[in-house]
Every structure is written in structure tokens, then in C-alpha cells.
């Protein structure tokens, strides 16, 4: 039962018994699909044109996207290495708890999960708040259908958000209780649907000529609307500033806002095959794919209209004064495409794909939250029933029920004025929770030298005497620190972080610590087991 295994070139490398061989499930393509959906071809697909353009008028959209993606590459490397170091569910929590501090790692993970589920709800609320109104209003305007415009208004009302949001949450729940294989298929379908929708947008924008756009715009938005857009925005305070430094600054701030999600396979690294390669390839691929999709959209859009005009339309949609004055702004790439090529089937297809991929976005949050909950349950920090797996569906029903309930709270929060501001503050909250695992990874070679020496070659890369992960981790930490500072410096981006929101964050972290120490005390008394053992490294004899 012995065989020789030859390396490339015929050199013999080892003599292996035939019973060797091991395995995991999600490959590079699967990891990329998860990353692309969590970034989102739909919600993030709107941000560069509807938000970035107006917050930094005059800055190159492509430049901002490129700077943003570039810095995310370092963060992606750090998280891929976390997954390669601890290739199991909730690799970030696992590494942080084994390397730095179990209670802090759990509190960070707890906060991330609760807030992620809230954000999933807020993202679901995007469907009635933004996606449906944008699409139905676009279709209503383009196809002269007042009832569609009226539906858009109802959809974005409090009742509309709760009703449609709850329906979408139930759809998400219904799909998430399916077997993992079915979920992955649903995501793959969404990936290709999203690509097809973008191909349609490219077709619509790419086949129109720049001379057609003003007339097409005016046809739907009123005569003279196109021509007066920049002046109108300037009247409400817009200042064009095509400064490269401003563009770089914008890119430094917008990385997580546009591209957040590429690294989520690290949360289910236990299901990723060859984690040391797949996580990095998958996360970088999802970053590059989405960057390319959005950049191509910007290129084609700028073929039709100047950058300043895109900035003006975006600015008008964000200016409270302009909104109060009754200015209707439609800074959405889907709308731009629809006005130059008003084909009902194409617009309908894009609308369907947009909503489908928004649900995919929520599904990725549900998916990674359920895996993290699994990891807690595996360490027996939470009751076992939470990780009960349905015998036929092979899905963790109770974990998904809990996430759905928290997501519903997120929907209601979004509908009632966003007390927690789940979506707008997500980057701030997410970055705060990342500090524990990223510090753990950066210092891992020094805090756990025995594990580091036995880690895969990808983890042990060095640049001279210093481990690469320490260098990249330090860059990532610097970037994350900047993101926190930027959340306070730029309210337009940070969503206005106030004492209430900081209090909510503190409450979540403290509740995580209470759960940790509560579970520890309970199990010590009831079972004679110290859950602290789970996190200890044992010295060899």
C-alpha cells in the first residue's frame, strides 16, 4: 500500500501510502461568488455614481474606486491569512480567541454577528426603500405609468418598507434553510444574473451616443433639465474640486463602503478547500471582478455625460436643501441606462436581477452569521440547540431563525428612522470588531511561534527577517484606524456617529462579555468544565 508521488519534473518527493487524502468544499469560484455577492453587484453597484460622485464632486470615480480597491487588497490578504491559519468556521474569532483574548474575541464576534444581522435587515430594507422605488419610478417615468411612480412612493413609506421588507426577509429565511448546496446554487444563479444585468447596462450605455443623452434625459425629466443640472447643483452648494489628493482621500475612505464583503469566506474557512490559496484568490478575485464591473460602468457612463454632470445629479440627490426644494434627482446608473434605451423587457430584467442580487446580499450575511454561531456553539459558549441541524435539510434552523428575527429588527429600525443607523454605520461597527482578529494575526508569529512554525507556507512568508503577515497586518491596522477616524471626520460618510450609536456599540460589546463570562460560570458549576480550556495552547512534553 505504498506509492511514490513525484513532484513536477519527475523528482521524487515522498513515498506515500495510498490512504492519504483530505478535502473541503468551496473552491476559488465559490469563494469569489460569496465575496461578489457580499460586496453586491446591486447596492454597491449604485454607490460609485449615486454617492461618491456627489460627496466628492469632480473626483474621478475610477480613481476613487481604484484607490479604494487597492487598500482593500491588504485587508483581504490579512483576512485570507487568518483563514489559512485557522481554516475553520469563524476563523477570525478562532484566531483571536486562541491568540489574544477569548472574551474580547467573543465580544467582537458577537457584536459583528448581531450587527451583521441588523445590517442584513437594513439591506433587505433597501429593496423597498431604494431598489424598488428606483426601478419602479424609472419604469414609471420611462413608460409613462403613474401607478408605478405611485407604487414607488408607497414602497419607500414606513408601511411599505415593513411589509415588503418582511416578505423579503421571509424569502431569505426560506432559501437559507435549504441545504448548503442549494444555497450556493442560488448564489451562483444570482452571480450570472447580476453579470447579465450589467451586460445589459453596458449595452444600453455603450450603444447610445453622447449627443442622444441630453434629449433622452429631458424627455423623462423635463425640458432643459439636463442643461441646468450642474448650475442647479452649484446653486445648492456643490463645488467642483478635481484635486488628485481629494480623490485619493475619497478612495481611502470608500474602500469598505464599496467593497465590504470580499473577505467573508474567512468566516466559513472550514468549508473552503485549500484555504491557504483559495481564500486569497477568492477575495482578491471578488475585489478585482467588482472593481472591473464598476469601472467599466463609469467608463461607459462618462462616454455619455461629463463627470461634473454625474456629480451634480448625485449631489442633488444628497442635498437636504435640494430635496426640500422639491428637486427630483435620479443618480442611478440603471436609470441612466433606461433613459437612453427605454426597452421594457431589458429594464424589467435589470430590475429583477437587481432585487435577486440584493436578496443574495442578505443571504451572504445570513450564511456567515450562521457559521460564526456554529463556532461559538462548538466552543459551547451558547446553548447547543442553537446549532441544531435539521436532519433532512441539513441546515441550522434555529440559528437562521435568530438571525431572521434580528434582521427583522433591522428592517423595522430602517423603516422607523434608523435609530441604530445599521447600514450607514456598518463600516464603523465592522471595523471596530476587526481589530481583535487583525491584531491577533499581525502579532501571531510572535505570540504563538509554535503554531506559526507549523502553519502553511502561505502564512509563513517572510520579507527578510519580518513575517509578511506582520507587515501587511500593520498596514491593515493603519487603514482600519483611518477608517474609524474618517467615520468621525466625514459625517457624510460616517452617517453621523453620535453618543447613541456609540452607546449601542458599547452595549453590544458588553453584552458579548456578559454572555462569555456567564457561559463560563454556568459550565464550570454545572459540568466541571472551564471553557477557557478551549482556547489554551498546550505545551508538548
Amino acid at each position: 500500500m505504498t506509492e511514490m508521488v513525484a513532484a513536477a519534473g519527475g523528482e521524487r518527493k515522498l513515498y506515500a501510502r495510498k490512504s492519504s487524502g483530505l478535502i473541503r468544499t468551496i473552491g476559488v469560484f465559490g469563494a469569489m461568488v460569496f465575496g461578489v455577492h457580499c460586496i453586491s453587484l446591486s447596492s454597491s453597484g449604485l454607490i460609485p455614481y449615486s454617492w461618491i460622485a456627489g460627496v466628492w464632486p469632480g473626483s474621478s470615480i475610477i480613481g476613487v474606486l481604484t484607490v479604494a480597491a487597492f487598500f482593500c487588497l491588504f485587508h483581504a490578504y490579512t483576512y485570507a491569512t487568518i483563514g489559512a491559519t485557522m481554516p475553520r468556521s469563524a476563523a477570525d474569532y478562532t484566531l483571536g480567541s486562541r491568540t489574544l483574548s477569548p472574551p474580547l474575541a467573543f465580544a467582537a464576534s458577537w457584536t459583528l454577528v448581531i450587527f451583521s444581522a441588523m445590517v442584513a435587515g437594513a439591506l433587505i430594507a433597501w429593496i423597498p426603500t431604494v431598489a424598488l422605488p428606483t426601478l419602479t419610478r424609472s419604469m414609471g417615468i420611462v413608460f409613462s405609468n403613474p401607478s408605478l411612480v405611485s407604487f414607488a412612493g408607497w414602497s419607500a413609506s414606513r408601511t411599505g418598507i415593513i411589509v415588503i421588507g418582511t416578505i423579503c426577509a421571509l424569502i431569505t429565511f426560506g432559501t437559507m434553510v435549504l441545504p448548503t448546496r442549494s444555497i450556493v446554487r442560488i448564489l451562483e444563479v444570482g452571480f450570472f444574473l447580476g453579470l447579465a444585468a450589467w451586460a445589459i447596462l453596458y449595452f444600453q450605455l455603450g450603444t447610445a451616443s453622447s449627443s442622444e443623452f441630453p434629449a433622452a434625459w429631458d424627455r423623462f425629466m423635463g425640458s432643459g433639465s439636463y442643461e441646468g443640472r450642474i448650475a442647479l447643483a452649484q446653486q445648492f452648494g456643490m463645488v467642483i474640486n478635481p484635486n488628485v489628493a481629494v480623490m485619493t482621500l475619497a478612495g481611502l475612505i470608500m474602500g469598505f463602503w464599496v467593497f465590504y464583503g470580499y473577505y467573508i469566506p474567512t468566516f466559513f474557512a472550514g468549508e473552503v478547500k485549500q484555504a491557504e490559496n483559495t481564500l486569497l484568490a477568492g477575495s482578491w478575485a471578488s475585489l478585482i471582478v467588482t472593481w472591473a464591473i464598476f469601472v467599466l460602468g463609469a467608463l461607459l457612463l462618462q462616454r455619455l455625460v461629463p463627470l461634473e454632470w454625474i456629480a451634480a445629479e448625485s449631489y442633488l440627490s444628497q442635498s437636504p436643501d435640494a430635496v426640500a426644494a422639491g428637486v427630483t434627482a435620479m443618480p442611478y446608473i440603471t436609470f441612466y441606462a433606461a433613459v437612453v434605451s427605454p426597452s421594457f423587457p431589458l429594464v424589467l430584467f435589470v430590475a429583477f436581477a437587481w432585487i435577486y442580487t440584493l436578496i443574495n446580499l442578505a443571504q451572504t450575511y445570513f450564511f456567515y452569521c450562521s457559521r460564526i454561531i456554529f463556532a461559538w456553539s462548538f466552543d459551547r459558549l451558547i446553548p447547543e440547540f442553537v446549532s441544531w441541524v435539521h436532519p433532512k435539510l441539513h441546515s441550522p434552523i434555529w440559528a437562521i431563525v435568530i438571525i431572521t428575527i434580528v434582521a427583522e429588527i433591522g428592517i423595522i429600525d430602517a423603516a422607523t428612522g434608523s435609530v441604530m443607523g445599521a447600514q450607514l454605520n456598518f463600516v464603523f461597527f465592522a471595523v471596530i470588531t476587526m481589530f481583535v482578529p487583525v491584531i491577533a494575526m499581525t502579532l501571531f508569529p510572535y505570540l504563538k511561534p509554535d503554531l506559526y512554525q507549523n502553519a502553511s507556507a502561505a502564512v509563513r512568508r517572510r520579507l527578510g527577517p519580518v513575517p509578511v503577515i506582520t507587515i501587511v497586518g500593520a498596514i491593515t491596522l493603519t487603514y482600519m484606524t483611518w477608517m474609524v477616524i474618517a467615520s468621525f471626520l466625514y459625517p457624510a460618510v460616517g452617517g453621523g456617529i453620535n453618543s447613541t450609536k456609540l452607546g449601542v456599540l458599547a452595549l453590544l460589546v458588553i453584552s458579548g462579555l456578559v454572555v462569555f463570562y456567564g457561559a463560563r460560570a454556568y459550565r464550570m458549576r454545572k459540568e466541571g468544565i472551564d471553557i477557557g480550556w478551549t482556547f489554551q495552547s498546550v505545551p508538548p512534553v
Binding site: 518527493k13 515522498l14 468551496i26 507549523n454 480550556w533 478551549t534 495552547s537 505545551p539 508538548p540 512534553v541
Partner: protein, 316 residues
């Protein structure tokens, strides 16, 4: 009430780092007894060829060229820690070994026995003073000749097909066999033979309701036995771009557990399915394995007379 603390692990597959950490954990967690659930031998030998001025070997697709005795020793230790067997050979020995598969097999067996004996001596030395007993069993991947290497120690015992008392209340029996695997390993056997041997094991027990059974293969469809499906060429089966997973445990083991209802069953075999499950009143545990990373995965189990008081899976 008196409590007995067990430390359980399996599937070391030759990893010295794993085994040494396991012994270290016995002291660290103050275990009363240690149980090893099989598959203790490694899967590959790494030839380190003497090149005259130094040595040459390939480990994980990376060429290693130690040139000093210290570097050579470090490489040997690295190879040993991940579970492989380093063998230092002259070039003509390499050629001779590769030309003779029988000789290759014998060399492999010698290396496996030698390491097992080293481990047993280390365990005996480490566990004598605290008077902890190690119940060390082979698994389906271990050649039959490995059993002899476990014999002859005061604090190390082989529970395969035998009964031991862990304390005044709890008996331990073990079974190293597994149902047929795609690799046709040394101790693979048909389900009916497995059922027969399980019946023999159960018949050894005086108080099955308080017994611990170390059975290498986990019960079928228990969640402790999920692994990728393989085709006839031992390649992982993909469908729609995804790996097909299947339950690879033994129906005979499951039926026996459901019928006998021991207090605790301990399993290994399927590295990627660590966890615990209740089958009736029986708690079944698979500690999993990450031997190639040198990470110890184990379970700590607190036993009271009639119940498992608590348990936790650890890794480090």
C-alpha cells in the same frame, strides 16, 4: 460525587507534535485517563538524500537542502511533527528502495513501529509519576503489526477487543476496525463482520449503561461521519461545481449504540467531522484531527457514575 476526567484524541497519523501535546494536555488538564482512538501511524516517508556536501529533500513542494547536522535535525523534526517519516538515504539506497516495492513496504513498517515504540516509552515515562493510564488503540489505517508495539508497558494498554476498568464504575472496550473505505485499509472489514465484533465487545461489558466504548469508525449518518464522496479513482466527486458530501460511518456501529446504549462512545476516522451527538442516552464524540498542522484536537470528558457530567472539545 466522584468524577473521572478523560482526555480523548485520535488520528495522530504519525504527528509527533500532536502526540507530545496530547501527553502535555494530560498533565495540563489533570486528566485521570487518556484514550487514543486509532489511526496513529503516518502516511508517508520523506527521503532525505545525502548529496555529498549536504542533503536534499522535498517537503510540501518545497525543496529543502540542509547542509549542517543541526539543519538536518531540524528538518527531520519538522517532517516528524507533521506525521511523516524522514529517512536519510544515500543515492544508491534511494534507487534500490524505489526499485523494490516489497523492501519499501518493509522499511515503512519498520519506521512506523519504531516511532510507535518511541511514543509508548515517552508515554510510560511521562505518565508513571502522576499514575495516569493511557489506553492506546490502533485504527483501520494501522497495520496489524502495530499492536505488538503497544504491548509491555505498565501505564499503556491496548483496549482493542479487550475490557479495562477506567475507575470503579466505568469499563472501557475498544474496536479498531472500520467498514470498507475506498482505500481498502489494513483493518477495513465488511459491515456484518463489524457487527459481529461489536457484539463481542458489548458482551464483555458488565454494566453497559456506564460503559465507554472507543470505536474508531463513527456511527452512520450521525453528523460525526460527513466527508466528501469519492469516485472509483479516489477523486472527489463534484456536481454542479461543488463537492458532494456523504455519510461514511458504519450502520453496524449505529445499530449497536442504539441497542446497547452505552454511556459514552468515542470515535475518530473522519477528520473533518469533529463534534458530539446524542444517540438516545449515549453521548458520541468525534474529536476530529488536524495532524498535518501539528494542531492537537481532543476532547475532555468529565464522567460521574451514571452520566457524562460535561465535555468540551479543545485544540491547540
Amino acid at each position: 460525587m466522584a468524577m473521572t476526567r478523560l482526555l480523548y484524541a485520535s488520528d495522530f497519523h504519525g504527528s509527533e507534535a500532536y502526540f507530545r501535546k496530547f501527553l502535555g494536555a494530560a498533565l495540563h488538564y489533570q486528566a485521570d485517563a487518556l484514550i487514543v482512538g486509532g489511526d496513529v501511524t503516518g502516511k508517508a516517508m520523506i527521503p532525505i538524500t545525502h548529496t555529498g556536501s549536504g542533503y536534499s529533500a522535498t517537503l510540501f513542494n518545497r525543496r529543502e537542502t540542509p547542509s549542517t547536522p543541526q539543519e538536518l535535525e531540524r528538518l527531520r523534526q519538522t517532517i516528524t511533527n507533521v506525521g511523516f517519516y524522514p529517512i536519510v538515504l544515500e543515492p544508491d539506497e534511494v534507487a534500490a528502495l524505489e526499485a523494490d516495492s516489497e523492501q519499501m513496504g518493509k522499511r515503512f513498517e519498520q519506521e512506523m513501529i519504531a516511532r510507535l515504540r518511541q511514543w509508548m516509552e515517552l508515554a510510560e515515562d511521562t505518565l508513571r509519576q502522576p499514575n495516569i493510564h493511557l489506553y492506546f488503540m490502533c485504527g483501520n489505517d494501522d497495520l496489524a503489526s502495530m499492536d505488538a508495539a503497544i504491548e509491555g508497558y505498565d501505564h499503556v494498554h491496548n483496549p482493542d477487543g479487550r475490557r479495562f476498568w477506567l475507575d470503579a464504575d466505568h469499563e472501557l472496550v475498544g474496536l479498531s476496525l472500520a467498514n470498507i473505505t475506498p482505500w481498502r485499509c489494513a483493518r477495513d472489514t465488511e459491515e456484518d463482520e463489524l457487527a459481529r465484533r461489536l457484539d463481542q465487545m458489548a458482551a464483555l461489558l458488565e454494566a453497559p449503561e456506564r460503559a465507554v466504548m472507543a470505536i474508531h469508525v463513527p456511527p452512520f449518518d450521525s453528523g460525526l461521519d460527513t466527508c466528501p464522496e469519492l469516485d472509483e479513482n479516489l477523486q472527489i466527486v463534484h456536481r454542479g461545481g461543488h463537492v458532494l458530501m456523504k455519510a461514511a460511518g458504519s450502520p453496524a456501529v449505529r445499530q449497536m449504540i442504539e441497542r446497547v446504549q452505552p454511556l459514552l462512545t468515542l470515535h475518530g476516522h473522519i477528520h473533518e467531522s469533529p463534534g458530539h451527538v446524542r444517540l438516545g442516552r449515549t453521548l458520541a464524540i468525534n474529536a476530529g484531527s488536524e495532524y498535518a498542522e501539528g494542531i492537537m484536537k481532543a476532547a475532555i470528558i468529565n464522567l460521574e457514575r451514571d452520566r457524562v457530567k460535561g465535555h468540551v472539545l479543545i485544540s491547540g
